[in-house]
Symmetry: C2
Subunit: 371 residues, 2 copies
């Protein structure tokens, strides 16, 4: 399933084989939460270099429901994407989106953020839903504590997460890969414990969850450093929901193989664009008359055909095309970054690439500034 | 500039030559009000069969301004479309969108619907703005009375419109085609007067404006019937802002060559889809589990790749991709209708086509119903 092609220090390059195709690692998964990449077609994501998409169990369960998707021939057919799909279990969304949630031994009861309906999600049900969706990689149901959760709470939560992982593994479909999710909050020893427990159960891959939830980057990196030595070298490692281009470079350096993040799509919709020279906030008056492309180093359709002045005009006019073109660019930027990272690892110059990238694009932390 | 290739009764087929290419008539212009086709790329409109786009002087003057567009190399380059563009003069938008407007002998003073700024638009200025935009067909500034305007008002308004047409012609760029706009409200004799006066001035083409503003279809068709005999046969006739597929068929039958309308794009955003079997309102529960394509007779990307269930899911989830795919289909439907109309005229079966189309798709008036 997973084959390491090259290791240099902690940095790794490999291939992950799934039922719908093989993916080069390290990779980034554009997010199709509800089965759609915001304004983009799956075929466009593929042209940009996407080899796998991420969809969400929580969202698709609430709407339109896994039964319909199964009847439609599965999520691949439903959304017209024949490459690999990873589905998140819903654990994080229950934590971040649902109104009122009650953790029970057996699962989690919550109210849908759409209509307030009470839903009870168990580890087994999360796996069944994902099997019906027909995704290639299934994530176990976990509980994600807040960044500032007390140790007592995190420890109790972790016990539940491990137990749920055990039950998930048992309930998992044999047709797909199943990944465990390391939790443990911001506590190094609990992260270690979680990794060891999951490793004991045995999964096709291991995710690190519950990071990038408000903690400083330093803390996040420390948790990664603490966790990775306790995960098997020959299985893929997936850092969930992270992050900025800087975060990704730091994590690849530490041995992470897989990423997903809402930043490229969500930020595009807020006019926050990632470029090779740093962040462009397209609303800024400075771009109103700029006939330059968004990113002179980018080969995407947006940068090849339109000026900042035009893109700003569309954004200020709330034109759909603007959101589409900006989303396209940001996704292209992330996928291109991953391509460059893979090439750099291949040619033994990851450190050089990382330093050069951060020097040119990363004076700011990609969450502020404008060029 | 305009060449009639075939006439059969009042029905006509021809070609209209512009600075950016030749267009087969009768044609429909997708609307890029602010220089963007809602969610679509110009290249996609071309693939669907669009040979000309419409943009709006009023909107582009307010934002981002014609000076910027001129600096950017003109509207074609700004929006990345190298085919013909027709720009509306802004007269209709001043009538329908602007807050507080004062008609004066010299022009119209109005408040921008964006920021309330006072703007004074004269016939000369409308032509200058269009010259700066660099569009291929310029429309004269007109005054558009409401459907229920009193005859006294319409008569006074018409005198102004004719005078403005005269001044527009004088101020017009020699590089583009200039069209006059027939007004006269719902008064047959005033429509005749307007047509004759414009013909006296002499234009490259003649539009009929001020229709589809709330009057019954019968009244609209009567106004067309009244007007056309007084326009030159060898110039293109453009019915502005009309209409449903039925309206278009009726108007082609009477000798109209050009159309534009917000219906395909605007209705798509409201989940109102035109299909060969009639209107589909995608929100309807009836489509929730439908694995049929939106329109089984349509070759567009949306109909070839997605089910109604998926499109409804995207629409209910407010996914950008949904609006894009629905817009794509509606524009494809209109452009395909025009293609079929042209083929039917060519092979002497326009009446047969019209009757067959209305029987299959048009039991309802395309403004209601669902299939």
């Amino acid at each position: 399933m997973f084959k390491l092609l090259k290791t240099s220090g902690q940095v790794r390059r490999g291939v992950l084989k799934t039922a719908h195709g093989t993916i080069q690692t390290p990779f980034f998964m554009p997010i199709a939460t509800a089965g759609a990449l915001k304004g983009l077609l799956p075929s466009e994501a593929r042209e940009l270099g996407a080899e796998i998409l991420l969809a969400n169990t929580y969202h698709l369960h609430l709407r339109p429901g896994e039964e319909l998707i199964k009847k439609a021939g599965g999520l691949h057919k439903f959304m017209s994407w024949d490459g690999p799909i990873l589905t998140d279990s819903g654990g994080y969304q229950v934590f971040s989106l649902a109104k009122i949630r009650k953790l029970k031994e057996d699962g989690v009861e919550f109210q849908s953020h759409l209509d307030g309906k009470t839903i009870f999600l168990t580890p087994e049900k999360a796996m069944q839903i994902q099997a019906k969706l027909g995704s290639d990689i299934h994530m176990v149901l976990d509980e994600c504590p807040a960044a500032d959760a007390k140790r007592d709470y995190v420890e109790k939560s972790l016990a539940l997460t491990t137990e749920w992982a055990r039950r998930s593994k048992k309930a998992a479909s044999k047709k797909s890969l199943v990944f465990g999710i390391v939790q443990g909050g911001m506590h190094a020893d609990l992260r270690k414990r979680s990794a060891e427990e999951l490793r004991g159960i045995g999964f096709d891959g291991y995710a690190i969850g519950g990071l990038s939830v408000g903690e400083p980057q330093k803390t996040m990196l420390k948790m990664i450093d603490t966790t990775l030595p306790h995960l098997p070298v020959d299985k893929p490692r997936y850092l969930m929901g992270v992050g900025t281009p800087q975060d990704i470079l730091e994590a690849v350096e530490r041995g992470i193989d897989m990423f997903d993040c809402v930043l490229p799509t969500r930020n595009a919709r807020h006019g926050h664009l990632f470029t090779s020279r740093g962040v462009v906030r397209i609303k800024n008056e400075a771009h109103a008359k700029s006939l330059k492309p968004l990113d002179p180093d980018c080969a995407c359709y947006t940068c090849q055909h339109f000026t900042r002045a035009y893109l700003r005009h569309l954004f200020m006019s709330n034109e759909l095309l603007g959101l589409r073109l900006l989303t396209l660019h940001n996704v292209a930027f992330y996928l291109n970054l991953m391509k460059e990272i893979r090439q750099a690892i291949k040619s033994n110059r990851f450190q050089v690439f990382k330093n050069s990238f951060l020097r040119t694009a990363g004076e700011t932390d990609f969450r502020s500034g404008d060029v």
